[in-house]
């Protein structure tokens, strides 16, 4: 008996240790996490950590030197392309492995594997969208070209060389928190990451919502509320730019009754006001130095670790600086000694839906015949649960994304297939390879013509003084209206037709106006010979054009100011109209007090402005009031754009109903929210909107909130709550490149590192770093050096 009692403490120790080593409920394995040797403490990086390294790596062909500057930006110098991308892969993994891993798992619909069945719906959506299918298609194209194949093989080898050095102790902290392990990198994962970007930038469309509204509204009302093209816009491609004769003629549209499907119970992906990015370039005629200046600030989700990783990459034939995507080789946005480039999303619609007409359980109707589905069985592994199998049926149009077993967002239960440019083979990796090495306009054009999806407005400026922009992507020669609504999947006339030759994409080179600006607005005016639709945003483009039109001797500082500009074109246009409808007798004293804040307001959404908060709330309420009636016509309708609403308000359009009542009612409705904000001392605009840069896990202690920043989607500085300028770059070309940049994050993905969010302060303040671009002439001092040699030599 005593012996038995003697064993008891041993058992209890063993049980305690075992309990602490296993995740319980939603909690991580606490014992392992709090282990002072191998747990979270292993991620506590000394603030004076010496990053100097001597490495011997397997598979490298020659010696590589990496110099890190004081911001921990690596400047990689390799002797050949293979080693260059190998080292980039190694460095991405060294600083950002968990993020790369999670994002590619998310792209592939494999989050349930590590987070359990709460992610099953997300995973099924990804599979049904055909994310992996699209990545596989592109990977074929990428591996078919020796340059991109070598680039991806090298990158993958570099990532895996780093992963192979890891043990539990050295895993990034997030793995220990979520209880999973890094897995080997593959070329497919890099392809998936690029599809993830394509999905982010071209994934949402209004097709389904417009299909319902088109049936629900009178034709006149529909055209007035949802014009195919907004009037009075500043297009990306200036009007006077010559457009060559098209080589393809526009196909004839089939009769409406054949072309389109009709939906009733449906839902759609909402469009947010002013989502997107800005880029603009000034020719030397408009700058103080006489040299062109290129500016870009792509707006994306604000997360930590940041989407971007700064890097300079040098090898024979290439010396490029810019931001890269951890998980993909090359530099995405940046410059070299001769050219600079920037991207904004193009927003032409490249994703269309088809209503499938089932014949039997395994067949559907197309062109009068029965066709069988090609089934793709998606196995979704779920942590702690049996595997889930989802059969995705592929039609001639593409995968059936919604059906009875997987309803659309609003409970849509009819089978819809999706045709999406991201499903087609394309080699964006080769585009980046060539772009990074381009030295003049023709090379740049040749490079970007490989970039097919997501379509981007690709801006260009070079040291010879040229500026240019291409609305680049692969587009289809559509008949008028094709794909704007859900189409009839049983008729062959609705199929996508020929590719528009990429050389006929909208473009402009050294336009007379002396500048080019794109901010996700309408790409061309109606003189462009091919028909297209899209989700375009105009407010920022109006403002940027207004400013640049009057800019004569611009400096880089002027460009910083414009990227941080918070003047609201929306407010300047609608507020005077709104105020006209408010008679002093119609409002209460309290309402008057808030109204007084709007007196003499300069329409700037500055961080401290209280007027900005009052306006934004009032406007949002009014916008919702105007369009509330659409809910009687459609379960969850798409509202006309804020731009169109602004125009209708200024015209006093009857489509808005009784405007005076709506203005007063929405002012009244704003009082509660304003009082609450005032009570909580959050009336200042930055406190009301709460710009946050959150860790990908959304864990609050790893995130930064309440950042003191102005702006909103309708201003050039489009800093919203969790979305905004993800990389601000200003580059002045010339014999010596003068470049500035900043992104909301830091070079290290480790939450225990001082480099985790180093740049955030400057980004919040609207300040920039001068970028250290190493050339044969300038070699700034390095803070740390990695000397890397091949292992087998």
């Amino acid at each position: 008996m005593r012996k038995l009692i003697g064993v008891l403490p041993i058992v209890s120790t063993a049980v305690l240790v075992a309990l602490l080593s296993k995740p319980i409920g939603g909690l991580p394995a606490l014992g392992k996490l709090l282990d002072p040797v191998t747990g979270c403490w292993a991620s506590a990086e000394s603030v004076s950590k010496n990053y100097n390294h001597k490495l011997k790596l397997d598979g490298l062909k020659g010696d590589v030197t990496v110099k890190f500057d004081e911001r921990l930006v690596p400047h990689i110098a390799a002797n050949n392309d293979y080693d260059l991308y190998y080292t980039q892969g190694y460095i991405h993994a060294y600083f950002r492995l968990w993020q790369m891993d999670l994002q590619t798992r998310a792209a592939a619909g494999r989050v349930s594997e590590v987070l359990g069945d709460k992610a099953l719906k997300f995973d099924r959506t990804q599979r049904r969208k055909g994310m992996v299918y699209g990545a596989e298609q592109s990977l074929k194209a990428m591996e078919a070209d020796p340059r991109s194949k070598q680039m991806m093989d090298a990158y993958t080898a570099g990532v895996n060389a780093y992963i192979n050095t890891l043990n539990y102790k050295r895993y990034p902290l997030e793995y220990k928190l979520a209880g999973f392990e890094p897995e080997a990198w593959t070329n497919l994962k890099s392809a998936l990451l690029l599809k993830y970007m394509a999905d982010d930038l071209t994934g949402s469309t209004d097709d389904i919502a417009l299909t319902v509204l088109r049936d629900a509204l009178s034709p006149e009302a529909f055209v007035a509320l949802y014009p195919e093209r907004l009037q009075g816009v500043n297009t990306v491609i200036p009007r006077d730019t010559i457009i060559q004769t098209p080589t393809l003629s526009t196909p004839t549209a089939p009769a409406d009754s054949i072309a389109f499907a009709h939906l009733k119970a449906t839902d759609f992906e909402t469009s947010e006001e002013g989502k997107g990015s800005n880029n603009w370039a000034l020719s030397g005629s408009r700058t103080k130095s006489g040299k062109p200046i290129l500016c870009n600030d792509p707006h994306l989700g604000l997360n930590l670790p940041s989407l971007w990783y700064e890097v300079q990459m040098t090898a024979p034939g290439v010396n490029v600086y810019g931001v890269s995507l951890p998980g993909a080789p090359g530099v995405i946005i940046g410059f070299n000694e001769n050219i600079s480039w920037g991207f904004t999303n193009n927003y032409r619609d490249v994703k269309d839906f088809y209503l499938i007409k089932p014949a039997t359980a395994n067949t559907y109707w197309f062109a009068g015949k029965e066709h069988g589905y090609t089934n793709r069985v998606e196995k979704i592994s779920i942590k702690g649960k049996p595997d889930y199998y989802d059969t995705v049926r592929y039609t001639i149009h593409g995968p059936v994304i919604y059906d009875q077993t997987f309803h659309g967002p609003g409970g849509l239960n009819k089978p819809l297939a999706v045709t999406w440019m991201a499903h087609r083979p394309s080699n964006e990796v080769l585009a980046l390879y060539l772009l990074n090495r381009s030295n003049q306009y023709d090379e740049y054009v040749k490079a970007i013509h490989y970039f097919l999806c997501p379509a981007q407005n690709m801006l260009y400026a070079d040291k010879h003084g040229e500026i240019a922009l291409w609305g680049q992507g692969q587009f289809i020669n559509k008949w008028k209206g094709q794909g704007r609504y859900v189409m009839n999947g049983a008729d062959s006339s609705t199929l996508w037709g020929d590719n528009i030759p990429v050389a006929e994409n909208p473009h402009t080179r050294n336009p007379r106006q002396g500048y080019i600006a794109s901010a996700n607005q309408t790409v061309t005016d109606t003189t462009y010979p091919y028909w297209y639709n899209g989700t375009f945003h105009e407010f920022r483009a109006w403002r940027i054009n207004d400013v640049l039109r009057n800019t004569k001797a611009a400096t880089v500082e002027d460009m910083f100011a414009l990227q941080n500009d918070v003047y609201s074109v929306l407010a300047a246009n609608v507020l005077p109209v709104m105020l006209q409808y408010v008679s002093p007798s119609a409002i209460s004293d309290k309402e008057r007090n808030y109204m007084e804040l709007l007196n003499n307001w300069d329409y700037k959404l500055t961080a401290e402005s209280k007027a900005a908060t009052v306006f934004q709330l009032w406007w949002t309420n009014m916008y919702n009031t105007f369009w509330a009636k659409l809910y009687t016509q459609s379960p969850d309708p798409l509202r006309p754009t804020p731009e169109r609403t602004m125009q209708l308000l200024k015209e006093g359009s009857p489509y808005l109903g009784n405007i005076k009542d709506a203005v007063i009612a929405s002012l009244r409705n704003s009082m509660d929210s304003l009082d609450k904000l005032k009570k909580a001392d959050r009336l200042q605009w930055y406190r009301a909107k709460n710009t946050s840069v959150r860790h990908l896990t959304k864990l609050a202690p790893f995130s930064f909130t309440n950042l003191k920043m102005g702006g909103w989607g309708n201003t050039v500085n489009a800093t919203k709550t969790d979305h905004g300028p993800s990389w601000r770059m200003v580059v002045q070309m010339g014999d010596e490149v003068e470049a500035y940049g900043v992104y909301p994050g830091g070079q290290s993905g480790n939450v225990g590192s001082k480099y985790y969010a180093t740049f955030l302060d400057k980004w919040v303040k609207g300040e920039y770093y001068r970028l250290n671009f190493y050339t044969a002439k300038t070699k700034p001092a390095a803070k740390y050096t990695w000397t890397i040699n091949p292992k087998n030599k």
Partner: protein, 118 residues
């Protein structure tokens, strides 16, 4: 008492060497047991010795990480566990180690007692 402190310090020192190739959790679960068995420690002393030795070891290991890190990680981890500051997080963390060490030491002591008297 004085002897207990000295033994605890020795245990922590040994643990420090083990930490070069073992996890802190394993050291806490095994080392006090070995020490109490080999030193024929009895009764409640075993728990105290294990607790003290491992708490000391974990405290030193943690401070060696935390101080050069300027509490960046510990502050964020404290937030994760809804603790008000890094110091309290470290205290909880050290207590956890002590608890495992104490149980391990107690196991050794009870073993000693059980086997000697039979």
């Amino acid at each position: 008492m004085k002897k207990t402190i000295i033994v605890a310090c020795v245990m922590a020192f040994l643990g420090g060497i083990f930490s070069l190739f073992m996890s802190g959790l394993w050291i806490a679960a095994v080392l006090p047991f070995i020490v109490t068995v080999s030193m024929q420690v009895k009764g409640r002393q075993g728990f105290g010795l294990g607790f003290l030795g491992i708490a000391l070891l974990w405290l030193v290991l943690i401070l060696l990480k935390d101080v050069p890190n300027h509490h960046i990680l510990s502050t964020r981890m404290a937030g994760l566990l809804s603790l008000p500051n890094a110091a309290l997080f470290i205290l909880v963390n050290v207590f956890l180690g002590g608890l495992i060490g104490g149980l391990s030491g107690w196991s050794g002591a009870v073993m000693n007692k059980a086997f000697r008297k039979s």
